[in-house]
Structures are given as structure tokens and as C-alpha cells.
Symmetry: C2
Subunit: 357 residues, 2 copies
């Protein structure tokens, strides 16, 4: 279930890296205040994120092809944004304890499991700037590696003994799978519009963010009302995150994102900017049909698509949707106790819109 998280740094000190990188980008964009808030946030959760990395590092390595395939991807780091969500949600309550750590590890394992299966489905060759596990260890090992990480994730949620967390995660994984199913069926279909795009994003990306926020809040001892607010925040954050991912497919720097431009398009995935551009400039359909038939965008077609995206204002429309979603996310936080963790969640929402990978 890959498009949600294809672009990552390559060091294992991942949570900290994300925040530092976001801080730099914000600095460059004249968002100095946001950059400072991100630095403070990073310092505040550094211990939590280290504990999560330590737990990930304890997974058996070298124990056969499947374990090597799984840890290949885990060891490349990643944004660790989902575990960060768990940590911050727990900190809105009584803090990040051993149970919250299990949940944070579980959400990253679940996410990694979906990436492993996604790369087999999409025949992906590069992720996080290196060859995918399926290229290094084969499709078979990647499929079983995804299965294994899923089992390991569920086991950790069980061990956390946070009431309801396991049932909800099973439900969320099902949502993710059905969203994959929908995406498979609409692959290459230009008629798929905003509603279908949103249904895929809600399932593939937002559902797991929702769970991360809910589970973290529950581990932190928060009540139903607070957890529901965190869950709603997670949903909007997930949509914002995904729209920016979609934008980076056209307007990202491959050296930074770790992913070639127009990868989603080549895989037949109709991203949000394309849907907007098609609405505003129906003649775009001709070149898209060619690209979809070819399975990739050559330089000329790619330039043409990007030109239409810019001319129609589709990229700006996508950024606006991301900003609106981030604002809605922040709006959900009102019922939570004011404090550092709530402020950090506001910072994450705003920063997500400004990420460049």
C-alpha cells in the first residue's frame, strides 16, 4: 500500500531526521517560527523515538531470507511519522510508556508490511533511494516478509493490552486492503474522480494515521471523547500527508524524495492534481491515455503533463486541499487539554503541508 510513504531519509535515526529536515525546509521557506517549534518538538520526543528505534533494532536479523527482506526496508529508516503520532497522542495524556512504545512499533511494522506487499504489486524497483527488498531478495521473500511484520505488529498490540487497540487495528488493516482493492480496480481509469480518490486515500493512508492517534491516546489514558478527537485529527492529517505525496510525484526533487517523478502516474494511479487538471482541461486525457497504455511517462509526455498541471493550477489546488486538511486536523484538537503535546500536534499538521519528502 505504497503511495502513502514512498519517500524517506536513509538513516536509522529516523524520527529526529524527519524533524530536522522539516525544520530546514521551513527555514528556507521563511517559516522560521515553525522551524523552531519543530526543533523543540524533536528534542521533546527524542527519548520516545530512540526507544522505538531500539525496539525495531531488536527484531531478529539475518534469521533467514524473510527476516532479511523485512529488515532491509526497516533498516533504511523512514519518516517514522506514524510512531511519532502514537508518541504525541500518548503525551496528550499521561505520557509515553511501554504500552505506547509497543503500539508505536506496531504501527511502523504494519506500515512497512504494506510497503513490502505494495512493491511486489507495483513491481517497484527503488524505495528510500535503494533497491527494493523484492529486487534484492525476490518477490516471494517480500510477500512473506510483509506477512511476518503484520503478525509481529499484531502480537505487539496484543502485548500492549490496550483495550480495543487490536480489534481496531484489524479493522483498519481490512480498510487498507479494501482501499487497495478499489485502487486496483480503478487503475488506469481516467473516469475515477475525487470521491474515488478520497475513498482510496481514507483507506490506504488516513486509516492507519487514525489508528495511531486513537491508540496513542488510549495508551495515554485518555477518554473516549479525547480519543475520538485524536482519531479525527489523524484522518485529516493522513489526507494532508497523501495530497502532498501526490504533489511530490510531479513537483518533488527525486534526490530528496528517493522516488522518480511520475512514478504514480506510470503505475496507473490517478493522483489528486491529475484529477483536478482533468476537470479543468479535459484534453489532458489524450496524453494521459498514452502514458497509461505505455506504463510510463517518457520525457516529452511527462513535460506535457506537468505543464498542464501548472497551467490549470492543479498543483496549487492540491496544496490548498492539503492546507485545508491540516487546518481541519488542528481544528479537531480543541477538546484536548492545552499543553505542549497538543501544540506539537498543531506543529506536525502545519509542517506536513510543507514537507518535501
Amino acid at each position: 500500500m505504497g503511495i502513502g510513504a514512498a519517500n524517506m531519509e536513509t538513516t536509522p535515526s529516523a524520527g529526529g531526521e524527519l524533524l530536522a529536515r522539516l525544520g530546514d525546509v521551513c527555514g528556507e521557506r521563511g517559516l522560521g517560527g515553525l522551524a523552531a517549534r519543530l526543533r523543540a518538538l524533536g528534542e521533546g520526543v527524542a527519548g520516545d523515538m530512540s526507544a522505538i528505534e531500539a525496539a525495531l533494532a531488536e527484531l531478529p536479523r539475518g534469521a533467514g531470507l524473510v527476516a532479511r527482506s523485512a529488515t532491509h526496508l526497516l533498516d533504511l529508516g523512514g519518516k517514522r511519522l506514524r510512531p511519532l503520532c502514537v508518541a504525541l497522542a500518548a503525551r496528550v495524556g499521561r505520557g509515553f510508556d511501554a504500552a505506547a512504545r509497543e503500539l508505536a512499533v506496531a504501527v511502523e511494522l504494519t506500515h512497512t508490511a504494506t510497503l513490502l506487499h505494495d512493491d511486489v504489486v507495483d513491481l517497484g524497483v527503488m524505495r528510500r533511494n535503494v533497491a527494493t527488498a523484492r529486487v534484492v531478495y525476490g518477490n516471494a521473500a517480500s510477500i512473506f516478509a510483509g506477512d511476518w511484520l503484520l503478525v509481529e505488529a499484531l502480537r505487539r498490540v496484543r502485548r500492549s493490552e490496550v483495550p480495543g487497540a487490536l480489534d481496531r487495528l484489524l479493522g483498519v488493516i481490512e480498510e487498507m486492503i479494501f482501499a487497495e482493492s478499489l485502487q486496483l480496480e480503478s487503475r488506469g481509469r481516467l473516469a475515477a474522480g475525487r470521491a474515488e480518490w478520497l475513498a482510496v486515500v481514507e483507506g490506504k493512508t488516513a486509516a492507519l494515521f487514525r489508528w495511531a492517534m486513537w491508540a496513542g491516546g488510549r495508551a495515554g489514558g485518555l477518554g473516549e471523547r479525547e480519543c475520538a478527537a485524536l482519531e479525527a485529527y489523524g484522518r485529516h492529517l493522513g489526507v494532508a500527508f497523501q495530497v502532498i505525496d501526490d504533489v511530490l510525484d510531479f513537483a518533488g526533487d527525486p534526490a530528496v524524495t528517493g522516488k522518480a517523478l511520475l512514478t504514480d502516474l506510470g503505475e496507473g494511479k490517478l493522483t489528486y492534481p491529475l484529477i483536478v487538471a482533468l476537470e479543468r482541461e479535459p484534453s489532458l486525457a489524450a496524453v494521459l491515455t498514452e502514458v497509461l497504455a505505455a506504463g510510463e511517462a517518457d520525457a516529452a509526455a511527462g513535460a506535457q503533463v506537468v505543464a498542464v498541471l501548472r497551467a490549470t493550477g492543479a498543483i496549487d489546488a492540491a496544496r490548498t486541499l492539503a492546507e485545508d486538511s491540516a487546518r481541519e486536523a488542528v481544528g479537531c484538537l480543541g477538546v484536548l487539554p492545552a499543553g505542549r503535546a497538543r501544540g506539537d500536534l498543531e506543529t506536525i499538521a502545519v509542517a506536513t503541508v510543507n514537507r518535501d519528502r
Copy 2:
């Protein structure tokens, strides 16, 4: 995780079919007493098996590509031997209730999930006499369908509220995955001997039988000692079952098994009869090396392999191992209360050795 269960009947009234078919075979082989016992067994569990089929039939159908891919395989029936194990184990205790039914459905879903992933890994084209789900709906849908059935299985185990059943199933699925990993690594390697073969079989096949017996017993209210005995029975039954599967790859009737001869060999899987034949006739290595390099056995090579298997007595040795394993399985039942269910388990063990699909 396919070799364990590749050959099935094609009607959905599966549990009863299995027993009827086994009864016929036993009748043909002059095992009239066994045939009569199987018929009685089938009548005794008919209600349980119908309840299991009804629950399987309630899974959402037509709800997208992934659900269709999953139910494609489920609807072809199958031996339903693992659910039957759950039912009989529960009947050793206080009987087959709603919780036991959830566990029985879960074990079939888990098994089906592994078949779906296996067919993608092995590029399988036929199963149960029809095209595999991956041929009909694609590899991607099969991968996600396997994921979905796994989630659904775990959810049902959770719902059964049988203490320990979920943790144990997660552990068993991990064992299955690591056995797959081992098998991937030894694929096509003639040096893999009996110990490695047994390790793969214990993980890929016996582990889930173990769980079925343990979980059924627990659902039936049995104590630790009884459940441990049932689990040990399941392990030996699983080995017996797998050895016969291995034999059917060389000596089965494709019209009955639903699977072409020498499929395992073509996939680079060193089955038990081959290991024995290689020990007794090392010159077999030459033709095997050719077959493994080609990825399939042509008629001449196939005939040569089967001739060596028969000349070295390797097929008989495999049947002997299956009989020994079945005897060990029965030997585990001594600590259980005598009664119909215990007698039925003895019948199943003996019949497994005589199955022709």
C-alpha cells in the same frame, strides 16, 4: 504455503465429501471397517461441518476484486480437514459450540490465505482443478486477498474469546512464514536432507494442525494436559498428511488430486520420496539437476525419476513414514477420555494415510 493442501474436491459440501471419498478409497483398498467408521464419523460431524460452511458462505462476496479473489478459492471447497480437526477436538471435550465454530472457520481462512500467497510465489496456475485466483484476478488481488483472509481469521479467533488461542495462532503463523523462508532458501538444493525437510513440514503443515487441535480442545473446555496431547496428535497428523501429499506428487491421479504430477519437483521442492531416493541412488542427482534447471520435468525425465523412486523403494518408505506418523498421532490420544470423538480422531489418522487426494 501450498504443498500442504494442493488437492481438493470441487464441491462446497466439503467436509462430507472428504469423508465420503476417503470411505470409497478405503472400501476399494479392502479397508471396509475403516470405511464404515468414516461414514459414521461423517454423520456425527455433519451438523458441525454445515455450520462451518454456512459461516464461510457469509463472507462478503462480490465486494471488490480482493473479496472475489479470496472467495474464488474458498468456494471451490477443499478438504476442510483443519476445521474437522477443530470440531473433533472440541467434541473430545464438551462439544462444538459457537466459539469452536469461529476457530474452525479461522483455521480454514488461515490455510486459504497461505494458499493464495503460495500460488503467487510459485506462479501456480491450477488448484482444485480450476485456474488459480491469481490467474483469474491477478497477483495483486491474490496477495491482498491472502492478507484479508488472515485479518478475518484473526478477528474470529479474537471473537471466540478462547484464552490463548490468538497468541498461539500468531505464533503458528510466524512458524509457517519462517518455514516458507527455509523452503525458499533450500529450493532446488539437492543437499537438503531429511532434517531440513522435516523442519519445513513442521512449520508449513504440522503447525496449523497443531493449533487446530489445541484450539478445538480448549474451546471444548479441556485442560492443559489434554490440549497438549491433542496438539501432539495434530503435529504427527500434519506430518503424515504432508508425506502423503509428497507421495501424490509422484503417484497420484491428477484427475483426482486436481494437480499435475511432479508439480512440487518442477517448483524445486525436494519432497520426502526424493530425499530417500537420493540417499539410496545418488546417481539420481544428475536427472534431478536437469529438471530443477529446466523448472519442469518433461515426460522422459519424469518417467526416469518415478522409475528410480519405485526401484529404490522410496515411495514405500514415504508411506511407511506416513503410517508411523499416524501411529504416533494415535499414540498421543491415550490421555484423553475414551469415547466417540477420540475414536474418530484415530479413524482420521488412519484414513489420512490412505487418502488419494
